[in-house]
Amino acid sequence: MVIALAGSGGSGVMTAGTLLLAAAAKAGVYGLMVRTSGPQIRGGEAAALVRLADRPVDTLGDTFDLLLAIDWSNTHRFADEVPLTARSVIVGDPDEGQPPEVFLATGARYVPLQMKKMARAIAGSWVNMVALGFAGALAGFPQEALEAAVRADWKRGDEALAANLSALAAGYAAERGVTPPIVAPQVPQPKAGAKPRWSISGNEAAGLGAIRGGVRFVAAYPITPATELLEWMAPALTRVGGTLLQAEDELASINMIIGGSYGGVPSLTATAGPGLSLMAEGIGLAVASETPVVIVDVMRGGPSTGIPAKSEQSDLSFAVSGLHGDAPRLVVAPTSIADCATTTQWAVHLAEALQAPAIVLSDQFLGQSRAIIDPPADSGLRAQRLRAEANDADYKRYRNTESGVSPMAVPGTPGVTYTADGLEHTEAAVPSSNSRDHRLQLDKRERKLLQHDYGDAWADIDGDGDAAVITFGSTSAAVREAVARARAEGLRVRLVAMRLLAPAQPEKLAKALEGVRHVMVVEQNHGAQFCRYLRGHFDLPAKPASYHRPGPLPLRPGEVHKAIADWRKAA
């Protein structure tokens, strides 16, 4: 079931959405909550978009079953994000005016509810509790589950709690009292003995993954939509003996974590597109000096300042190739909120093992959405840097080893001091403009990434048939749902959700595409960046079809399903 709770500042719809999700969690149900709002800092229009399901979900699906608005100010701005159908229900406060025409035109049923009046009737209660009660009842939650969620999070004293539980009850009863009763998909009751689950955002998951992997130093500059990752990590790092330092800008951030990593401590920063651009020179320094660092890029609408609070997958080109010089680096992309933890942890491990920068391409949708998930297991992958032994008289920091990975001396280790450099250098770390040295070091830095065994985590692959859909990142969930629908209709489609974007794994993809004659690439950007990347660095059986569009709207399963169906028909 998919619910939108909308209202202006003061109506508390975000809180209501969060509580609805918490109630779902307590009731043994899975869910996903996405926030959307106007540009105001406070007081503007906002909506909490919540999907409830009996299995983990990473998309909001195609349409909404309920749009409940406490008021209608500027809610028409959400029309594209809250698609309704004739089977949807609109609940609004008649004292706040009529729903905007764009919603009514869908043919959805309108149910008026005087929420503000109901709240005013209970002294000290807030209107969002009425909304929560109503929405929770419609979703089929027992009232106790909703109350438990409110109680667990309550911070404002017992009197206020009692008042608001009354308001909740009033809203709940109101839903039961609607005639004729509203027909809406109910959230299935959970199976008994449900496993422990987590309520977590992608940003939080990425932070946890980083700490699991061994990160203990973060330097970063706040930027939408990455800031919450830093806000979660700051106290978390302190608790495990690490440090987060707020830098003066992104130029400082990337250089600080290079310094920290040079000192032997696994280090990370998080940013978004504009910050990533600023960090480019620093990332190149990490490549040339062979210093491991992890950069989480929570992608947002681009280019330039773009659309800060919306998601897009348009930093891919920059991530895989946007550095001056020949500068191989690692790029990974989590495919879901839970995967933000696993993939960030993997990135830490890879960066440290290969002494290189790793960019984690998350995005606003994953980063700022909250989901009920099965806890991702700790993969056990840790930062494990190849360190130089003390007093090695023959030590050469950039020795041309077979694997390309050369032991790194960590400050404090006697007898193996060296000067790390962005300048090209000899094996002994002496600056050099010599052609042999340059070639050798370029080969080394490339070889170390190419020869590493990345295992099966490079992509999630399933299905068979001679048609394959390839995608990455947050679109994976919508593509997965679309492919499931296509398969239900008898279509045989393979799915490749690629997690390791750089270095490219052409052999692995070729193996995954054995027997495939038709490929479609799905992505959320204007320039078909992933499609071009695949065509440039992989062998595909034929020129791929491309379904791509930019943000701010997420790709929906329905549109991808249609694209797949049309594509197969045309073939």
Partner: protein, 281 residues
């Protein structure tokens, strides 16, 4: 080994301990030779072995210094040495971290990081070899170049007021502010040692003549003078003094007691699995 080994004893920490085998590429006559000598002397005074010292630099002639020492060096990108050094020191509080660079690297592209490094007051020592010019890129004006100095990029001079790094350092919160002169390597070594020992962000601006692009700076040795007043720990007094400073007073201006950036001791109160508790439903 050279002939010096015959005369001097093999001591635990002599200046020679801190010199690497790499010979500087600076023009003969460059003030940076003396600064390198002063740094090695200062480190010998401090007494920590080279492998416990980090020397971090940016880009420019003076930024070449890390490779000329036997310490752990980091030669980063232009203007970002203070950021790299901050990261190194915060991640590894046990090390002694020194930052070296020039006036262009430090006050132009590095200006923002300079401000915040002073403000943040992490225990670092920042040594700037100021020759009032961009030496490595062939002689352009730097933020400390006189407004009427003629150059190809700014014919007739920049006509812009010079940057006064000691004023900025003091105002921004540095805990130790001094000026030294490369022509006096022993005096400079003493100031650097003092700077290293002083807690928080220590800033030493060193007048270091550029023999190739600013040959007239040879006259500095005739006109620099010891500052007439002793160092003060009163920032207001230091501010009054430095506002009338003509750029030639040598000595420690300010050795303060400003609160320093709290470095983490790395002890963990929780396990990683404890962090997961907050997500449990």
């Amino acid at each position: 080994m050279n002939d010096l080994a015959a005369a001097a004893p093999a001591a635990a920490c002599t200046p020679a301990t801190f010199k690497s085998a790499v010979k500087p590429v600076w023009c003969p006559g460059c003030g940076d030779y003396s600064v390198l000598s002063a740094i090695t002397k200062a480190l010998a005074m401090i007494g920590r072995p080279p492998h416990e010292v980090g020397v971090v630099s940016g880009i420019g002639c003076s930024s070449r210094i890390p490779a000329y020492t036997s310490c752990y060096g980091f030669h980063g990108v232009h203007g970002r040495s203070l950021a790299a050094a901050t990261g190194l020191k915060v991640a590894r509080p046990d090390l002694t971290v020194i930052v070296t660079g020039g006036d262009g690297d430090g006050y132009s592209i590095g200006g923002n990081h300079f401000l915040h490094a002073c403000r943040r007051n992490v225990d670092l020592t920042y040594i700037v070899m100021d020759n009032h010019v961009y030496g490595m890129t062939k002689g352009q004006p730097s933020p400390t170049t006189e407004p009427d100095w003629d150059s190809k990029l700014a014919p007739g001079g920049t006509k812009i007021r010079v940057f006064h790094p000691m004023v900025v350092a003091l105002a921004a919160g540095a805990n130790f502010v001094a000026r030294a002169f490369a022509g006096d390597p022993n005096g400079t070594a003493a100031v650097i040692a003092q700077a290293i020992r002083h807690p928080g962000f220590s800033f030493v601006e060193i007048l270091s003549p550029c023999v190739t692009f600013r040959p007239e700076q040879k006259e500095w040795k005739s006109i620099v003078r010891p500052a007439s007043a002793e160092a003060t720990d009163d920032p207001a007094l230091a501010a009054r003094r430095v506002m009338s400073d003509d750029g030639l007073n040598i000595g420690v201006l300010y050795a303060g007691n400003r609160p320093c950036y709290r470095l983490n001791d790395g002890s963990a109160a929780s396990n990683v699995t404890d962090l997961e508790m907050e997500f449990r439903v």
